[in-house]
Amino acid sequence: MNRDNNDIVKFEKIYIAYYSKFKRFAKEYVIREEDTENIVQDLFLELWENKYFLIPQQNLFSFLFTSLKNKCIDYIRHINTANKVTEQIQADYVRLLKIKFDALEILNEENISQLDVEKVIQDALNQLPDRCRQIFILNKIEKKKQSEIAKELNISINTVESQMAVAYKKLRVLLKDLTLLSLFF
């Protein structure tokens, strides 16, 4: 496929901006690293082949995000159908996948396509108290264990735990538009 330099530059910019985020997100549902990698690379291959990188910037993220979500859904569905034959094997992995599948379906597609999802999430995190946000990012995005965080920040594990609870409570409210669940709990 002959693409001019402009296309490549546009494509690579988008790729580098979103690759890691999409991987973090997808892995939460698909669980396995290899599967996550494949799904995300597939997404970008489609982006490239169909020239989706020409979509206006403000809609692009939501578009890709929706596509990613659907790929995850398709993938889990695919595994579940194949798995009907392997009844003898435990399925903690598969049971987890089933629940994560249900979670995926509850994401609010309408709002996601209309909102600037990236901004909504970034704003939500910025509204957390500093310490709280720091701990949350260390745990969720940099994947550090509670004990590591406690050591690094010189605080107790209890503090880490309670701050994570605070973060979750606030984020549930701040991100409520992106899911269809009630805030009953």
Partner: protein, 324 residues
């Protein structure tokens, strides 16, 4: 259960407790909703920017181009991604209508399909025959069959669903033997490393013989197996039919010794597995695995029946199993 839920999302819940948590979730709708809520909120928040994004993005880009280039460099159009490990190749051959070319014994174009470890392939031949190839297998086939017969060569493991053609026998050549059929479904297991060749007939009829002793052929009936070993041909019954599910990516073992299972896994995944404790070798297992699960997952599942320790040497691609 609430506490365990939080622990789960911290990544600090043990496998046993995770199991119990899943049990609880499946029964308790409220708990399930809580899980789902946490699941989504945490996953969404992971879309926030991180300092590592740039670097990871560049690494990912390199992988992307490697994959994209592999796709470009094929002669035939193939879309192969590991999580959809079935490769279906449609060969459209150009038909030469002159008798002059039609009489060639060996077709001018021989194609070779090689399936590496950890993969499977499914291919349709010019006559409508379907061939499934297992991991580490090679099929050599002409784009167009000759006038008198349909001949292919195979090494490794293949399942054939041969299109009926009474006028043109279908001949499969593999190492020292040949199989001749008219229209049939059969499985051939012919890995050079294993020291034997096993042919199982599922449907139809089949003749199998040593290439050097064509007149000493065995005719198989459905559910019979011919094993060629050390120059001799043995007849027996097909042991367990689920075995042929491999072509759908399912490996089924019925009361098989761990040793035998591991030998197969080594073939399918191109990895060396050593067992340190001889006692582990004889334990028998019955089960089904998906090829796509990968070696780690399969070993982990087997481990649940009789525990053993798994040590991985990633650099040299060796797994060592020892008693706990």
């Amino acid at each position: 259960m609430n506490k365990n839920l939080i622990k789960f999302f911290q990544g600090e819940l043990s496998a046993a407790d995770t199991d119990k948590l899943l049990d609880a979730i499946e029964k308790d709708k409220t708990l399930k909703e809580e899980f789902i809520n946490m699941q989504n909120i945490y996953a969404l928040s992971k879309l926030a920017s991180s300092s590592v994004d740039n670097e990871e993005g560049k690494k990912g880009l390199k992988l992307f181009y490697t994959k994209a280039n592999k796709i470009k460099n094929r002669n035939i159009v193939i879309r192969m991604f590991q999580y959809a490990a079935i490769i279906t190749i449609l060969i459209t051959s150009t038909f030469f209508f002159t008798k002059f070319y039609y009489d060639l014994k060996e077709s001018s174009e021989n194609n070779i399909l090689y399936v590496p470890a950890g993969q499977r392939a499914k291919i349709s031949l010019q006559d409508g025959t379907t061939v499934w190839l297992n991991a580490k297998s090679t099929l050599k086939y002409p784009a167009k069959f000759s006038r008198h017969n349909r001949k292919v060569e195979v090494i490794g493991e293949a399942y054939f669903d041969v299109a009926k053609d009474k006028k043109k026998p279908f001949i499969v050549s593999s190492q020292a033997i040949e199989i001749k059929v008219l229209g049939t479904q059969f499985n051939i297991n012919s890995y050079p490393e294993s020291g034997f060749i096993a042919t199982d007939l599922i449907e139809g009829s089949l003749m199998v013989y040593d290439k050097n002793f064509k007149h000493e052929f065995i005719t198989l009936k459905p559910n019979q197996q011919a094993t060629y070993k050390s120059g001799k041909m043995y007849l027996s019954s097909t042991k367990h039919k689920d075995y042929f599910l491999w072509r759908d990516g399912i490996y089924a073992f019925e009361n098989e010794r761990l040793n035998d299972i591991l030998e197969k896994l080594q073939l399918y995944y191109d990895i060396k597995i050593n067992i340190v404790d001889a006692k582990l070798v004889d334990t028998r297992y019955t089960g089904k695995f998906r090829q796509r699960d990968g070696i780690d997952e399969i070993l982990r599942i087997i481990q649940k029946i009789q525990p053993f320790n798994i040590k991985k040497d990633m650099e040299n691609n060796i797994i060592t199993l020892s008693k706990q």
